[in-house]
């Protein structure tokens, strides 16, 4: 069962939104998906149409405590950052094997850079969600420097909350595109339907089936799917899927 790590350099970029919809997209493609949040303050359940009172069971909790939404198993592991046994435990649970059938998606908050690096070492893909805002662009040299060539080999970039009606947004996106080349696997447009769906306690797919952000993020799930079978340490999205 391969693992996909969702982690971006800057908070609020939509990492949790993308993790949730990757899980839904891969599930729609037939995979048996577990999504685990390692955030101390967790908003993942909201993207599944769950109420704010929902508290996700630990990854080790028995099956009868599971929270399942559309067949997706939602879990948490709050002390992941301090827990040095977390990564070995995932390995023992079989989460690092390639294969399409069962998939683990991990939502790692932006601040947990060390945990993210430890996880990415074992992941089939690292999905790095960023906005095209200048303060996010400013973090990219540090991100690249810390990851090194080997870490970046597994990284696919996603631009989220893109507003193409704004000049700075277009320029920022063009800059990322030129920098990342085929590693940029897509962009998700800014769409009010995303927070509105949360406010109505519905999934985005249910609240706004025609949402542009929904179709954009579904394309990203399709672009990521081929990594599940990959045994190579490096993965680059097919050029045809690059945004």
């Amino acid at each position: 069962m391969p693992m996909i790590v969702c982690h971006g350099p800057k908070g609020g970029a939509g990492n949790t939104f993308v993790a949730a919809h990757l899980a839904m997209g891969l599930s729609a493609q037939g995979a048996d998906v577990t999504v685990v949040s390692v955030a101390a303050r967790d908003t993942l359940p909201l993207h599944f149409g769950l109420s704010p009172a929902t508290s996700l069971p630990a990854i080790t909790a028995p099956a009868d405590e599971a929270v399942l939404v559309g067949g997706i198993n939602l879990r948490s592991w709050r002390r992941a950052a301090e827990d040095l046994d977390f990564v070995p435990m995932l390995g023992e649970l079989g989460y690092f094997q390639p294969g399409k059938e069962r998939v683990l998606v991990v939502d790692v908050p932006s601040g947990e850079t060390r945990l993210a690096r430890r996880l990415i070492e074992h992941a089939c893909a690292h999905v790095c969600t960023i906005t095209a805002q200048p303060d996010t662009l400013a973090l990219l040299p540090q991100v690249f420097g810390e990851a090194g060539a080997e870490g970046l080999a597994r990284t696919a970039f996603v631009i989220n909350a893109l507003d193409e009606t704004r000049r700075l947004g277009r320029h920022g996106a063009a800059f990322i595109r030129e920098l990342a080349g085929s590693r940029l696997i897509g962009r998700i447009r800014l769409d009010e339907a995303v927070p509105e769906a949360i406010a109505t306690l519905q999934t985005l797919g249910r609240y706004a089936p025609a949402s542009v952000a929904l179709s954009d993020v579904q394309q990203i799930a399709e672009a990521v799917a081929p990594t599940l079978d990959s045994t190579a340490s490096a993965w680059v999205a097919p050029v045809s899927l690059a945004a």
């Binding site: 662009l137 000049r167 063009a174 030129e178």
Partner: protein, 115 residues
């Protein structure tokens, strides 16, 4: 406002639409010194190196200056090594034209609606 947009709005009988032409010029990109500052950072080379085997297809350009210097070379010509002081130095000394070439290229893509 472009005439075709004007006609379309007239036919729709809607004049209250906000209309904006999305055209990016080279000079616009130069408006943001942060882009140039970032391009001077040697750490951004890392991604360029990992892209080498699987680089995006060559972008055709009618600009002879750019055709003579493919964009992906803009980084790789700073030597194929990881960050080191000597590279940092060469990046500071000689990149100005390259940075402008990249910004110009970005704005060309924008003008052709490819970004």
């Amino acid at each position: 406002m472009r005439i075709d947009a004007r006609n379309l709005l007239d036919r729709l009988g809607r004049n209250e639409f906000a209309y904006k032409e999305f055209e990016d010029r080279f000079s616009d990109l130069e408006l943001w010194p942060i882009l140039e500052a970032l391009l001077r950072d040697p750490r951004l080379q890392t991604l360029d190196q990992t892209n080498v085997e699987n680089a995006a297809p060559e972008i055709e350009s009618s600009d002879p200056e750019l055709s003579a210097e493919p964009l992906k070379n803009l980084f790789s010509r700073y030597e194929q090594q990881s960050v080191s002081p000597s590279i940092a130095k060469s990046v500071v000394e000689e990149p100005a034209r390259d940075v402008r070439a990249m910004l110009r290229h970005l704005s060309d893509l924008g003008a052709r609606g490819e970004i």
